[in-house]
Amino acid sequence: MTQLDDMQYFLANAWWLGLGVAMLLYIILDGADLGAGIFGLVVGDHDERGAIMAAMAGTWDANETWLIVAGGILFGTFPFVYGSAFHYLMVPMAFVLWGVMSRAVAIEFRHLASEKWQRFTDWVFGLSSLTVTFFGGMSVGALLQGFPLVHEEGKLPYYAGGAFDFVSAFSIWTGIAACVAVTLSGVLFVRARFEKTERIRQDAARWTATIFWLAIGSVLITLVWSAAIFDWARSTWFGPHFWLWGIFGLVALWCIEQVRRDTLKDRDLAAILWYNGAVLILGLGMLITLHPWLVPGTWTIREGASPQVSLITFTMTMGGFLPVMVMYNWYQIWVFRARISKLVAYEHH
């Protein structure tokens, strides 16, 4: 559609990688917050639910920022995809959005509310975490299926389908799978964040084993299902380089096995790191499989990229700012690293 020169195409690919990394960081970092929120739905003790929110109070905002950054990169570098994909996904995105808003309000206002209202905010926080995860996962599934575009002469291609075209058995499944995977991330987070003597940590530890196997099953079903219905996935995975993908799968499996071993030995931080490793490997594998598509069958990187991407602005934002912020995020996690007990109130934390 637009002609990019070699440098622009290279930059578009670099931004695409940046977009992928931002999405993965969001899934890893805020996934733990979302999962802890979902886990909160089954926690009976009022103070324990409060402690879960307090445990993420110092970092949730920075974690969630990666979603906004991903949105910003998509809007800035791939505006044609942004406009049309949001049009396609307007209904699930509405729910994601309302969920994100409700979570922010629930976590920010909880410590100020009376106990009765705290019960309400807890309920809102858990349900909105579930909403964000389910519809977010559903959106990913819907994007993997692609969406139809209308090309008119002299105009940009736009989405002209219905508002509910995103619903399919596969997208409903990816929504469910996302909830399972994120809940595992959440219980791992709760385990690492609380004193080992706390009952809430022991509850989380008990839940881990079940959710762990559910998550493995979900990932496997998703991969098999993808290979069955998507030509782009099947032809890549079972093509001439199938052994490479085999290695990918084995490394991911090995990471997951480490998660299991570490949780059995109560090495909570190591378990989280291995889990994140598995997410990274699976996520990067999916990104590489998709390349050069941004949305399979609909938008390639070349067609979706803005011709205005320049080396100067790219270097400024990605080379200059992003590394500093990643370091800063790390410092922040470090400052709030300690285990806490449920007695620690929001205010004193």
Partner: protein
């Protein structure tokens, strides 16, 4: 394919609601962060515990407001893609990229430091904390800068050409430094500071009025009143500068703001009278009635006795913005600007006469009531100003280049209604929740008893350090996250 006019209307009401609610919160975040930095710097330099207590107290109000700002801000970003899909696609190469910079260099920057600022007390050193507060103030200002760059470009698009259905940037510098941004960004930044000063003045005045913690609140009340007087005065000047800019680059918008229909009257003389108030006639070709001041319009807008100001009737009918709203929102904003200055000057005069000391301040009942009641005014002014700006740009989404209906997503009436109702519920809940909790924090008052946060010496909880080698059976924690 043109979307249904009703769905366009509903979507526009929806976006109007989303942006009007969002703009309630960031100005206080920006200005209050700067004020908090001032308070914390005072504590850092003087070790006067009262500054510390004020910091912690106003920070609680800051958090409530910040949460609402984030919630409604995420809405803004996504609403562009959803309600204005074609616009997002077409303007993305410039507009989207600027918003992208905003998320990376400002939003993310701010989110990184805000956790430390709010929860870092006692965990990090005082210097590091001061640094975090400084960065929150700086990053939220940067955020406002990027947003105003993007919005100003929609008002006075430059450095781009519209080709193949999209805006292609021909000159980045021209597009970024478009003619409107130099007047609009300072005007908005000053509005944020002015609103926040009014907010701090109102809170302090309320405590002094109630004779609660007068020792704590009388001093910042005096300081902020002086600052408010200065800022309010500069803001009135800056508003005038922006007005000249609008006259030059968006004459139709200015004509709507002033209710100016005819450039010349029937005798062929320049129509130089300023309409104080008025109402358009049924055909929207003139004012049915008005109260006028001769020569005032020329004086205000062109700074000459008889300068001509182009009237609405000289623009094609389908390129005229609506009149009633910009006309009255503009007047409301200007009147509020003047009122705030008067109250601030009143306070300065009281201070100068020595009547605002800790012992005497509570006696100025009427003044303190005025200060507290005034807090709603800057909020009304900010919304009124934004409406003047955005409605004045109609019917264009990008002035002179792209019409609003061409930038809208093709929503069905049902879907548009679903969105509007959903947003209305959530946004109302956010606004009501914010007001309720702001009031609650004020009612509870500052915490004067808990120990002052030390220099990064707070107990962090038990850390499980890696056990020495050879104890493989012992559970091992590197550093709990």
């Amino acid at each position: 394919m043109q979307p249904d006019p009703l769905s366009i209307l509903i979507s526009r009401i929806d976006f109007g609601l989303i942006s009007s609610v969002h703009i309630l919160f960031p100005p206080l975040t920006i200005g209050l962060a700067i004020i908090l930095f001032g308070f914390e710097l005072a504590w850092f330099r003087t070790n006067d515990e009262r500054w510390y207590r004020l910091c912690r107290f106003f920070e609680k109000l800051f958090i409530v407001n910040f949460g609402a700002g984030v919630a409604t801000g995420v809405t803004m970003e996504m609403a562009f893609g959803i309600l204005y899909g074609p616009f997002s696609q077409a303007a993305g190469p410039f507009f989207g990229q600027v918003l992208g910079y905003e998320t990376i260099t400002a939003f993310m920057y701010e989110a990184g430091f805000i956790g430390l600022m709010i929860f870092g007390w006692g965990k990090i050193s005082r210097k590091m904390h001061l640094f975090a507060t400084f960065n929150v103030a700086l990053s939220s200002t940067l955020s406002a800068m990027w947003i105003l760059v993007a919005n100003s470009w929609m008002q006075t698009p430059s450095g781009v050409e519209f080709k193949n259905g999209m805006f292609q940037v021909t000159n980045w510098l021209q597009a970024l430094l478009n003619p409107n941004v130099f007047a609009a960004f300072p005007h908005m930044l000053l509005a944020a500071v002015e609103l926040s000063l009014c907010f701090v003045v109102a809170v302090c005045a309320w405590f002094v009025f109630k004779r609660r913690e007068v020792q704590l609140f009388a001093r910042p009340l005096r300081y902020t009143l002086v600052a408010l007087a200065a800022v309010a005065a500069v803001q009135i000047y800056m508003g005038d500068v922006l007005g000249e800019n609008v006259l030059e680059h968006k004459p139709a918008a200015l004509a709507a703001m002033e209710g100016q229909y005819d450039t010349y009257d029937e005798n062929g003389n320049v129509n130089n009278a300023w309409n104080v108030i008025g109402w358009p006639n049924k055909d929207n070709t003139g004012l049915a009635w008005s109260i006028k001041i001769p020569h005032a319009l020329s004086l205000i807008e062109t700074k000459t006795w008889n300068g001509a100001v182009e009237g609405l009737n000289s623009f094609p009918e389908d390129e005229r913005p609506p009149v009633i709203l910009p006309f009255y929102t503009f007047r409301a904003m200007a009147a509020i600007g003047g009122a705030i200055l008067l109250v601030a000057l009143w306070g300065c005069w009281l201070s100068w006469r020595g009547r605002m000391t800790e012992g005497l301040a509570s006696a100025n009942r009427l003044f303190l009531m005025a200060c507290t009641g005034m807090v709603v005014l800057p909020y009304i002014a900010v919304i009124a100003g934004w409406w003047t700006r955005e409605i004045g740009r109609q019917p264009w989404i990008v002035y002179g280049m792209m019409r609003v209906e061409d930038g809208m997503s093709k929503l069905s009436v049902g879907l548009a209604t679903f969105w509007l109702i959903g947003f209305a519920i959530f946004e109302t809940a956010v606004v009501l929740g914010t007001i309720y909790f702001l009031l609650k924090v004020c009612r509870n008052g500052p915490d004067l008893t808990s120990p002052v946060a030390g220099d990064g010496d707070e107990h962090l909880g038990e850390l499980d350090l890696p056990s020495s080698a050879g104890h493989a059976d012992h559970p091992e924690y590197i550093r709990p996250v």
